[in-house]
């Protein structure tokens, strides 16, 4: 095969190598030539429409015959019968129509010419002239004061629109500050997040992991569902007991564990899913959303996955009655990163 010599314009189009033979001759269908076949097709279509009608009746029958009473088997039956009735009705109505078009309506292809997809040159000129006339009459070119003040007014209009949305959420105090704290404070007891019972160090065996909440969560009134959810979204923690000496204690975190019992935020530092898959052999926690893996024996360090920062650790102590409690709030914001986050890292448990 030869290639074309390269030029700016295409080598003279060269024309098609073969002349257009025009539309191929039409081959008649069986239903065009055989009246019996056509009758048969007519009957088929009639049967399809007939079944469609039965489907609608079936739907109504199923609707009336199967009132829901909480029984799951009955719900499933109702779902299947209603769906079968309506589905059959729609599907066969459609198939019948398509069959009608394919078998009995003419299948000789028709040819139509396309209209040009651009206006004639005189129309274009007339359009430009009309625009010019209008622009001229408005005088926008001659009166810069009007033009500029109009532009200025239009440019400022988005401001009220934007400020209209200002009260969609509380942004005073600063959200970055609000989201940097949790309800953990000095002395808040750690409670099991299912039974809400406080935990004694001796309740936990080495290697055991407990999902926990601050005891003060229970004090939030039931009616304040939003506050309860927010608390769960920020203050949920994991408590794990490791063999003393078998986990790393970074400088500054001495005394944050109670006999090897460590407490970490449960909220992933990637995009905030609660991390919940525990690998008992390695003491790693895996986030089921995006598989960030945190080593609880290495101060919550990320050992795999898209998260960058280790899980924040909650310093623990034992209160006067022998239960696990927090020494204070986390020293850094929990959950996903945000723009101002670094400003809210504290040196001491608050």
């Amino acid at each position: 095969m030869t290639t074309h010599s390269s030029e700016i314009e295409p080598a003279a189009q060269g024309g098609d190598p073969l002349p257009d033979p025009g539309l191929p001759p039409h081959t008649p269908r069986l239903t065009d030539t055989d009246t019996k076949a056509a009758k048969r097709a007519e009957r088929q279509i009639g049967v399809m429409f007939g079944i469609a009608a039965l489907g609608s009746i079936g739907f109504v029958a199923a609707y009336l015959a199967l009132p829901l009473d909480g029984d799951l088997g009955r719900l499933q039956l109702s779902n299947i019968l209603l769906g079968l009735g309506l589905g059959a009705s729609l599907l066969l109505l459609g198939l019948g129509a398509v069959q009608w078009a394919k078998k009995l309506m003419p299948d000789v292809e028709m040819v139509q010419q396309r209209h040009p997809l651009e206006s004639p040159p005189e129309d274009r000129q007339a359009a430009v002239a009309a625009f010019e006339a209008g622009a001229e009459e408005s005088g926008i070119g001659r009166r810069p004061l009007i033009r500029n003040s109009l532009l200025g007014a239009a440019a400022l209009l988005p401001l009220p629109v934007l400020f209209f949305l200002g009260d969609m959420g509380p942004i005073n105090p600063n959200p970055a500050l609000v989201r940097s704290t949790t309800i953990w404070t000095r002395g808040t007891r750690v409670v099991n997040d299912v039974t809400f019972t406080p935990i004694r160090p001796e309740d936990l065996q080495v290697g055991q992991l407990v999902n926990a909440m601050p005891e003060s969560y229970e004090e939030i009134p039931e009616e304040d569902a939003a506050e309860r959810l927010t608390t769960r979204a920020y203050s949920s923690v994991l408590v794990i007991r490791l063999e003393p000496g078998e986990f790393e204690v970074p400088p500054g975190r001495e005394g944050w564990d109670v006999d090897g019992i460590l407490c970490y935020s449960k909220i992933c530092t990637h995009v905030g899913c609660p991390i919940s898959l525990y690998e008992q052999q390695t003491h790693n926690m895996l986030c089921p959303c995006h598989q960030s893996t945190f080593a609880l024996s290495q101060a919550g360090k990320v050992v795999f996955g898209p998260a960058k920062r280790p899980l924040p650790q909650l310093p623990l102590e034992v209160d006067a009655e022998g239960y696990l409690a927090a020494q204070g709030d986390f020293t850094e914001p929990v959950g996903p990163s945000y723009w101002e986050r670094a400003k809210y890292i504290r040196t001491e448990p608050a």
Binding site: H4, G14, L18, G169, V271, C289, G305, A307, W339
Partner: protein
């Protein structure tokens, strides 16, 4: 005048006296549309959207978009007495108390999946056949917007039932919003009405889901269809089909029955799917609790690629001047979608620059006849597919018993290696197919008859193909090769556009590299003659012993 016409004539006259509707009917009732199975894909998208509107309207009759806490007292026993949002409780009620409610929920969900899927495949069809070229670039861009709107509609709807899965999706969205530099923290509080999850988000998503997004989709779909109608549909090249005509069947009655019937087929299939295949049984997941998540959390399929990118993007987070920039979240969550949409919208212009082809096109390209475009398309599909698989990396890990970490590492590398590979391989295949086509035109089809010459040489007899097929195989436009204009003109003055034309020439060379040019009439004539001559040689050799039964028009290929 037939009875049917008699019945219709009175209302028609009345309409005409008010809207001059006859003029419109005259030219549009018998408007011709070309026929091909691949033209149905866009129809599926349109019809599933209609099913979405209808089923969605039913659901709004019962759904309560409220995060007020209620204690469930409905007929689903395992959740009785459990506190939950009104949104979740009303979703349970739709499923358990309303006859056909569960069916309608499943219809809504299945048609949503189908809506995005059919838009995606329709886009592939338009891309691979070059249907986005002039004059259809505007409709291509509208289509890209529709795809984005489809994702938005899907995601806002996914979040409404306020079950554990949908809440987890929202939490991820919150993480993504937080990654936006400077304003992210504020935006999050504004959108959620306070600290996550707040009590406003469901009702806000609801109005977006039932009014804003579908309204936009409806407007865009209308524009899409009006433009399609006005510009007329593209058609495949072939005998009798030119850039100036449309060959096909009339709107009335053929497409009225076919397309109208197809709406019922699509909706019927969706209803049957919903009758037999369960989707999103929200009662299993339980109400949303930000401290709970189920293992194997999966979004709907169309969000999978974004979730996959979130999974495999390495931990690129930096603190610069005291401010945190989380590229590991911002790139997949915030930037990927606009970049993807931007590339889609820009592609027609990029191709136009590379090919220098600004002509009107109403005849489609067979994908093989534009190997580079086809390669780019397959490359994009492989890229998307890898991201999508990454979104299910935990499932892949479970099914194939491979550690999930290996899959992630593989994807991190594969995402940059496999798509270019797919490009090269696809382009080669396309070029090979082109060569086979030309072979068929010049040498005819293989007959399967093997002959032996007196010298003992074997050859297969070829028979010429019919003129319709031969025309179809040579109907594609000729690639336009561009060479850079000279840097200096005759009088030694520098060409100000030299750099641009040089870039264009380089891109053009890459674009048409190895693409097979169809022969010119003369070349084809020579080629066929040459082939016949070879056959005659054989005939001469064979003449005496075998009697030479070769028909003279058969051609040889060894």
């Amino acid at each position: 005048m037939s009875a049917t016409v008699k019945v219709a004539s009175k209302p028609l006259a009345a309409l005409d006296e008010r809207l001059t509707i006859s003029t419109w009917f005259k030219s549009n009732l018998r408007k011709v549309f070309p026929d091909h199975w691949s033209f149905l894909l866009g129809e599926i998208a349109l019809y599933s959207f209609i099913v979405l509107l209808l089923s969605g309207t039913f659901l709004t009759l019962f759904f309560k978009p409220s995060m007020v806490e209620v204690v469930y007292q409905g007929s689903y026993v395992p959740l009785r007495g459990v506190p939950m949002s009104e949104a979740y409780a009303s979703t349970l009620d739709i499923s358990f108390e309303i006859r056909g409610g569960l069916l309608m929920r499943q219809i809504h969900h299945w048609s949503a999946l189908l809506f995005v899927a059919s838009m995606t495949v329709h886009m592939f069809r338009v891309f691979f056949t070059g249907a986005f070229r002039r004059p259809r670039e505007i409709n291509w861009s509208i289509g890209a917007l529709l795809l984005l709107m489809g994702l938005a509609a899907g995601f806002t709807g996914y979040s409404l039932p306020d079950d554990l899965l949908s809440g987890t999706g929202l939490r991820i969205i919150e993480g993504i919003i937080l990654s936006i530099p400077v304003v992210g923290t504020y935006l999050s509080f504004l959108i959620f009405g306070g600290n996550y999850p707040g009590e406003d988000i469901i009702s806000r998503l609801y109005i977006a889901h039932v009014l804003l997004v579908p309204g936009l989709i409806l407007a865009l779909v209308s524009a899409h269809l009006i433009i399609l109608w006005y510009q007329k549909h593209t058609q495949w090249p072939g005998p009798g089909r030119t850039e100036q005509n449309v060959v096909g069947y009339p709107l009335f009655p053929i497409y009225t029955a076919k397309a109208g019937g197809f709406f019922f087929v699509v909706s019927g299939v969706v209803v049957l799917l919903s009758a037999f295949i369960q989707i999103n049984p929200v009662w299993f997941w339980g109400p949303y609790d930000p401290s709970q998540v189920s293992a194997g959390t999966q979004p709907d399929w169309y969000i999978g690629w974004l979730d996959g990118m979130l999974r495999i993007t390495p931990a690129l987070e930096f603190v610069i001047g005291g401010y945190t920039l989380s590229l590991n979240v911002l790139i997949p969550g915030g930037l990927a979608m606009p970049i993807f949409a931007g590339l889609l919208v820009a592609y027609p212009a990029i191709e136009r620059f590379a090919t220098g082809d600004d002509r009107e096109h109403h005849l489609l390209d067979r994908p093989r006849n534009n190997p580079t475009r086809t390669g780019i398309g397959v490359m994009a599909i492989v890229f998307y597919g890898l991201l999508w698989l990454s979104g299910g990396n935990d499932f892949v890990a479970t099914i194939f018993q491979i550690p999930v970490n290996y899959i992630t590492r593989f994807m991190q590398v594969g995402l940059f290696v496999l798509p270019p590979l797919a490009f090269v391989v696809t382009r080669r295949i396309a070029i090979a197919l082109q060569r086979r086509d030309m072979e068929r035109v010049e040498h005819g089809r293989e007959t399967g008859v093997i002959r032996m010459t007196t010298e003992g040489e074997f050859y297969e007899e070829h028979a010429p193909i019919d003129q319709y097929e031969a025309y179809e195989l040579t109907a594609q436009p000729r690639p336009k090769r561009i060479e850079a204009a000279p840097e200096l003109d005759e009088s030694g003055i520098k060409n100000p556009h030299y750099k641009k034309t040089k870039r264009q020439a380089r891109l053009n060379r890459f674009y048409w590299e190895n693409t097979v040019d169809k022969p010119t009439p003369d070349e084809l004539h020579d080629e066929v003659e040459h082939a016949e001559h070879d056959t005659l040689d054989h005939l001469e050799h064979e003449a005496l012993p075998s009697g030479g039964h070769n028909p003279p028009e058969s051609t040889r290929h060894t």
